[in-house]
Amino acid sequence: MTDLRTNFAGIELRNPVLLASGTCGYGDELAPFLDLSRLGGIVTKTITPEPRAGNAPPRIVETAAGMLNSIGLQNPGLKGFIDDKWPYLAALDTKIIVNIAAPTAALHAEMAARLDDVEGIAGIEVNISSPNMKDGGMLFGCSPTASHGVIAAVRAATRRPVIAKLTPNVTDIAAIARAVVDGGADGIAMINTLLGMAVDWRTRKPILGNITGGLSGPAIKPVALALLWKVHQAVDVPIMGLGGITSAEDALEFLVTGATAVQVGTATFVEPGGAADIVAGIESHCAAAGMARIGELVGTLGV
């Protein structure tokens, strides 16, 4: 038996496996297929200050070993979340991290402050990286200064652990990571989706209504690992690794490379109960390898 308990930036997790933002909604649709209490936690679909309609369809298309999405952050808004979604989440026996995005640093801070009044939230993940959030023009997550600004504002507005979620679509992700840590981030989650596009040459049209979208799934795992490795070397805060994880072995690769915990995203669409199997697989692999605590594995990559 390996002890899988993990402390992530002050959040006590039953095990290091969470569900990624936007791939588990607000928990309810998954419950028939997955016992959420078997997971370390779940990260809610991004909420924004006001409700959003999201992008015009089609919003989804499969690509080689992955998929593109352009959901466009359809969500009920902060108030709708608290009124309609939180009661269900609050009753779950797992840690709930709330993922937020807003058009300005100040609005991020306002959201975080308002959520501070809601009992039971384990942490705030700040989505400075969604290719579907266009309100702010260029993404915050593409500029160290803007990233720093958003995270500092949220940090000042909440008593909860703040996790910055980074985009891979940048030249120097280590610089962004240093900026958010400097701004007070207690942890980092990475990666969000890669910018991607699919085209139907016969109709001569993009397949997604939004033209481009975010690429996720096994196809991006090598990119996620390379960027995780860069960021692990650049900063000292704990990192949640994600991008293409579909198996326990995948998860273990992220842990070895420097992630303290992992998030399962797109894989849940294909195997709704898969995250629990990943927990079980991690436990049996680590037990077979004679590890007492999962932490013994984290960041042990020898190069």
């Binding site: 909604g25 649709e29 297929f33 369809p57 089609p58 989804i60 070993a65 849940t268």
Partner: protein
């Protein structure tokens, strides 16, 4: 129509057999633990071994027939890409991941009404199961079927259980009415049918035309939509359709409905075509 939908489960099921029923159109029979599936519901299959991650996403398919005695269901599908190719190549006895039943189901018409089922291409399968079930409940549906040409039409033996009155159209005139299936609907609605109710599934353009025609004639119309799906159970919000009457909604959050869980069947007047 207001019984709750059966609960979906995620299981491994076995292939009984696959047969080619029209050009590049296949029927696969699956042995399932539970045949409690309502007409119009669909399933998500994963035609690959545990070791493989490709094809990556599952394939949504309507249920075309249910055999409660044999504990089997049939899916009917056109081979168009990697997932339908993988499914078609499974051998008898092979396992396939089965998630379902998913989505809502066709609403049952008022007693005495005449259901007019209008299907095109890969949209025909759910109407077969629906028609079959309607007849069990004493209705006499009319089935209008369109396809590109004769060799793309499903054989009589597959359509017969769904309706005594089957009418065909083909775009190229090689079978039945030459032209679109909407031509057949036009004629059918000209007949003195007692309170017709239209149910349609097929290419978007076809269904839009059907919906328009029904609106003009003030005939109720229910459409079974298709959209690219990732999850199939409501969590990804990827498979959406725009709602009509958005003004009446409490927030823009509701502008789009999910085809997989809020549908796939919608009252044709409630969505933007």
């Amino acid at each position: 129509m207001n019984e709750p939908s059966p609960t979906a489960t995620d299981v491994q099921v076995r292939v009984v057999a696959t047969t080619e029923v029209a050009e590049a159109f296949f029927q696969t029979r699956l042995e399932v633990p539970d045949t409690t599936i309502r007409p119009g519901q669909f399933i998500q299959l994963r035609p690959r071994s545990e070791q493989s991650i490709y094809p990556f996403l599952r394939i949504p398919l309507s249920v075309a027939a249910v055999d409660v005695q044999q504990q089997t269901i049939d899916v009917l599908y056109e081979q168009v890409g990697p997932k339908t190719t993988a499914l078609r190549h499974l051998a008898a006895g092979d396992e396939v991941g089965f998630l379902g039943p998913l989505g809502n189901h066709f609403p049952t018409p008022e007693p005495g009404a005449v259901p007019v089922l209008v299907g095109g291409g890969i949209g025909v399968p759910p109407l077969i199961y629906f028609g079959t079930s309607l007849r069990v409940h004493g209705y006499e549906p009319i089935l209008l079927v369109g396809a590109r040409s004769a060799n793309k039409h499903l054989p009589d033996r597959l359509l017969a259980p769904a309706a005594a009155d089957v009418r065909r159209a083909s775009d190229d005139g090689t079978l039945g009415h030459a032209g679109f299936v909407t031509g057949l609907l036009h004629s059918a609605l000209d007949e003195p049918l007692p309170s017709p109710v239209v149910y349609t599934c097929g290419p978007h353009g076809m269904m839009a035309a059907v919906a328009r025609l029904c609106a003009e004639r003030d005939v109720p119309c229910f459409a079974s939509l298709e959209e690219y799906m990732a999850c199939g159970f409501g969590v990804c919000v990827g498979c959406v359709v725009e709602r009509a009457n958005k003004e009446s909604l409490p927030s823009p959050y509701g502008h789009y409905a999910r085809v997989c869980i809020d549908g796939p069947i919608f009252d044709a007047r409630q969505i933007v075509w």
